[in-house]
């Protein structure tokens, strides 16, 4: 483990600033106030054919103050880290709350939460920002060379690095310090001689350090070294015949389907309508909670903020709520929503399940998804077992294109690779496939899930939501799973016109 919190962050006058803002907010009559001081460092390198196209190293540091005053929210944020400036932000937040009051229909109240004081650092071994730029680029060059092969015309290799420090303090007395590190390497090969084809790595972003680039947590070299042969196979592959197929979907693809059709659909703010004009609403309405048959009886989905190396994992959320694990779908039935403290109170719950997150000090915490994961079977069902149950189908690997409607009903996904399944065996790649379904039809068609040996923690660095727009990292665990009779399109035919 590294040393923990960065002393350059903890050397800031964090307590003094928080006290100044909270004291001023209380003096002005705020019934709730919270302060976040955040430093987020984001780095990236982009290589094309081993040449450096772009490098960035950007740090954001600031303070945000949120209050409830006379039953209304108010928020202000700035970059000046002095006690006077922090107190001024509290005044601005109260002023904003006063402006909001005439347009607030009912007073905002929060579900209670015990006071927490502590520190937490996500598990990583090598601080990616302690690795020199030259060493990082050298590793990407190495991966680029490993990816090159017959039929490969271009190789891109990229890495994104994030180091997030956050102080949270509120009027109730909670005060927490957290650090989260995450990385995402991606390698993609392209063939441009003739029709364009591409193939990229399927590894997820991970709550790990530079050690992830060195093979800890994912066999990056192993996957990169096969890209050229997979690409060659795809170029020679026959086009898929549209129709209904049984699908065996790997977690490298299924995570995104879970993200779009389950995790977003079970955000309570969406279900209530708070995101109706932007991210959208949800078909999973509060009045059907506990009765909606979301999927088949092998479908159990949990939300958590505790998974090791999970991108949404933390010890406390951005409202000071302790990280938890909770059920979202049990044996196919929708049984739980993701909550923040305001919505937990509105729903009559005695506690939030800890799903508040803001992507910087300059933004308010929204209800954002935790790690949302499909649970594996208790048995040791393998991918081969699942494929063996299919007479005519497709085996789906790696995410690619994705789209879903604003109520999370109708979706369409493509993949890095689709393999034909014939009589229980893989029979080579097919090209130009996409699967398209309605969420509940799809999940109800899930006949079996793989065992723990097929389970992987996948995810995204940049899930978007809210206005002003915010980006959140999130993980999704999934086993391989078997779905029956799913509609498969031929994308080339979809785009063809007389």
């Amino acid at each position: 483990m590294p040393s923990g919190l960065d002393p350059r962050f903890t050397a800031l006058p964090l307590d003094t600033l928080a006290d100044a803002a909270l004291t001023r907010a209380a003096a002005l009559g705020a019934t709730h106030a919270d302060v976040r001081i955040e430093r987020i460092r984001m780095g990236s390198h982009r290589l094309r054919d081993e040449a450096l196209e772009s490098s960035t190293d950007a740090t954001d540091l600031g303070i945000g103050v949120r209050v409830i005053h006379d039953g209304s929210w108010g928020f202000a944020a700035g970059i000046t880290l002095t006690p006077d400036a922090a107190a001024t932000l509290a005044e601005q937040a109260v002023a904003a709350a006063r402006i909001s009051r005439p347009l607030t229909s009912f007073p905002v109240e929060l579900a209670p939460e015990p006071v927490h004081v502590g520190e937490w650092v996500s598990p990583f071994r090598l601080d990616p920002f302690e690795v020199s730029d030259a060493e990082r680029v050298e590793r990407l060059v190495e991966l680029s060379r490993l990816a090159a092969g017959a039929g490969v015309d271009h190789v891109t290799a990229t890495v994104d690095l994030v180091d997030e420090h956050k102080l949270y303090a509120d009027l109730a007395g909670s005060r927490t310090l957290q650090r989260r590190v995450r990385v995402l390497p991606v390698v993609e090969v392209m063939a441009t001689n003739g029709r364009y084809h591409s193939m990229r790595t399927t590894n997820p972003p991970a709550g790990r350090g530079w050690e992830y680039l060195l093979g800890e947590g994912w066999d990056l070299d192993g996957e990169v070294s096969q890209l050229a042969s997979w690409l060659a196979e795809q170029r020679a592959a026959p086009c898929v015949q549209p129709g209904r197929y049984d699908l065996v979907v790997e977690p490298t693809n299924l995570w995104l389907t879970i993200h779009e059709s389950v995790a977003h659909a079970t955000e309570l703010d969406r279900a209530l309508g708070y995101e109706a004009a932007y991210a959208g609403t949800s078909f999973a309405k509060p009045e059907t909670l506990g009765s909606l048959q979301y999927g088949s009886d092998v479908m159990t989905v949990t939300g958590d903020r505790v998974a090791e190396h999970g991108l949404a994992s933390c010890a406390w959320d951005d409202e000071g709520v302790e990280a938890q694990t909770f059920e979202i779908i049990r044996d196919g039935t929708h049984v739980g929503y993701q909550l923040n403290r305001q919505m937990a109170h509105e729903q009559g719950r005695d506690r939030s399940n800890g799903c508040a997150f803001a992507d910087s000090s300059g933004h308010i915490p929204l209800q954002r998804m935790p790690n949302v994961s499909l649970q594996p079977a208790a048995s040791e069902t393998t991918v081969e077992d699942l494929v063996g149950r299919v007479e005519r189908g497709l085996y789906v690997v790696g995410d690619k294109s994705w789209s879903i409607d604003m109520q999370r009903y109708n979706f369409q996904f493509t993949a890095q690779r689709f393999y034909a399944i014939q009589d229980g065996r893989l029979a080579g790649q097919v090209a130009d496939a996409a699967y398209q379904a309605t969420t509940t039809d799809f999940w109800r068609s899930m006949e079996a899930v793989g065992g723990p040996g097929t389970y992987r923690l996948m995810g995204a660095l940049d899930c978007g939501k809210g206005q002003p727009g915010q980006s959140a990292p999130v993980s999704h665990g999934a086993p391989a799973a078997l779905f029956r009779s799913v509609n498969v399109l031929n994308t080339e035919a979809e785009g063809a016109h007389a």
């Binding site: 954001d60 928020f75 607030t104 009912f106 004009a277 994308t491 979809e494």
Partner: protein, 457 residues
């Protein structure tokens, strides 16, 4: 003074060359849902980006570092960090000499700011609209924001440039009590002086009334009128996919038939379409501001270079593709900077209402959503219709129909479009977090591919 900080930063640079960009931004916003205000905020942010360049045999090795700057010392520290990075940085693929220096007359002026007050008049009207919506048993949702960002660019080559970027938007969504009927209007603005909440509320309420008659239609190909907002979203995605260098490499829909060539010169539309961007028609800085290179499109080496108006399409023919200066020089084509605005004009003076009146049977969309690439070689994209698909019969809107998932290529839609309306300022829906200013016509497409029905409303 910010400009003093920049001079101190440039003086502190130990690299061969240096670019300092300081951005001072203020922002205010209001958000509402279910007829009530839900959040608001007022934010101030000031950051700098330093591009330190070491030259080895004339080739640049760049250190690009960004961070918040509350004081001069913060900026000087960033310069030091960038210079250290540049010392060991690999050669840049987009290396180019710094642009010829230009000094703006207003360079030394202070930041132009905004505050929550700019939304005051709008908020009053919004309050009336929300109350009326509540009384009518409907619901309103939406968002309004205003930004003011002042950017100073100083380079070791002598450029001293300043630009003020002011932009705002408002989106108003009205839903029937069962949330099946839904309508949307959106506007972009520079300063909210041209935004009238009462007018927007009346327009969205009128559109919501079209949802009283509810019809269902199956998937299939329909004659479809894409309104300006939907056209804007499709054209922006096309614009972002238009890197000339990537086209030469066979990686985009604009790749030529022969290796190393592009489709520039090819007729893409039978309509006399002209697609332009730049500071002449809509707000955009007159010079390049690049805080991080976007491979094949923009380069940090181009900071301060002119950002002139470019015609990407002219009279239906592909006329140019975006190139950073280095890629343009390598390809022997003109440098073309992709400003963050877009104007499509098909030479029509007809209105959207004219197009509706001349439709025997077809669909009128409101906007598109969740548009994602499916096949980049054809720019086939998929997405959804949203907040109002209306059936037109004999020149009149007769009711709302269900939403659809579509699969289409915007480039192919340009080829198949048979009629356009006059170009008008519009706010796109999907990409308006990143792209505020467009002017677009409505387009009539005789056979738009509605791939499946979406049950969403």
């Amino acid at each position: 003074m910010i400009t003093d900080w920049i001079e101190a930063g440039l003086s502190a640079a130990t690299s061969d060359e240096c670019v300092v960009i300081v951005r001072d931004s203020t922002e205010a916003n209001l958000r509402w849902a279910i007829n009530m205000l839900t959040t608001n905020g007022q934010m101030h942010h000031r950051s700098a980006t330093v591009v330190a360049i070491s030259r080895v045999d004339g080739v640049g090795h760049a250190g690009v570092v960004s961070g918040p700057v509350a004081a001069q010392d913060d900026l000087v520290a960033l310069v030091g960090q960038a210079c250290t990075t540049a010392q060991t940085a690999p050669a840049s693929d987009d290396s180019a000499p710094l642009p010829a220096p230009v000094v703006d007359e207003d360079y030394a002026e202070d930041a132009v700011t905004t505050s929550i007050d700019v939304l005051g008049s709008f908020a009053e009207g919004l309050g009336r609209a929300l109350a009326a919506s509540f009384s009518a048993g409907t619901e309103m949702f939406g968002y309004a924001e205003h930004h003011s960002s002042t950017v100073w660019v100083g380079t070791s080559a002598g450029a001293r440039r300043r630009a003020v970027e002011r932009w705002g938007k408002v989106e108003l969504n009205a839903k029937s009590s069962d949330r099946i009927g839904s309508a949307w209007v959106g506007r972009s603005t520079v300063d909210f002086s041209d935004i009238d909440a009462d007018v927007l509320a009346a327009e969205v309420t009128r559109r919501l009334s079209w949802c009283d008659n509810r019809l269902e239609l199956p998937a299939g190909r329909y004659e479809t009128i894409l309104p300006p907002s939907a056209v804007a979203d499709l054209m922006i995605l096309t614009y972002w996919s238009a890197s000339g260098r990537d086209a030469e490499q066979g990686r985009t829909v604009f790749a030529g038939a022969q290796p190393g060539t592009t489709r520039v010169g090819e007729v893409l539309s039978a309509l006399p379409m002209t697609l332009t961007s730049g500071p002449e028609a809509l707000p955009a800085p007159p010079f390049a501001i690049v805080e991080g290179s976007v491979p094949g499109l923009t380069s940090v080496y181009d900071n301060g270079a002119p950002a002139e108006t470019v015609a990407w399409l002219h009279d239906g023919r592909l006329a140019a593709l975006p190139y950073p200066r280095a890629a343009a020089a390598a390809s022997g084509v003109p440098y073309a900077f992709p400003s963050d605005n877009l104007v499509l004009d098909a030479g029509s003076n007809r209105s959207l209402e004219d197009l509706i009146r001349s439709t025997k049977r077809g669909l009128l969309l409101t906007c598109l959503w969740y548009i994602r690439e499916v096949d980049i070689s054809s720019l086939l994209v998929t997405g959804l219709t949203r907040d109002g698909v209306y059936l037109i019969e004999n020149g009149e809107i007769v009711g709302m129909v269900n939403n659809f998932r579509f699969n289409e290529s915007p480039v192919d839609l340009l080829r198949r479009a048979v009629e356009a309306s006059a170009s008008e300022p519009t706010l796109c829906r999907e990409w308006n977090d990143y792209f505020t200013f467009t002017s677009m016509p409505a387009l009539r497409v005789p056979d738009f591919n509605m791939s499946t029905v979406s049950k969403a409303y």
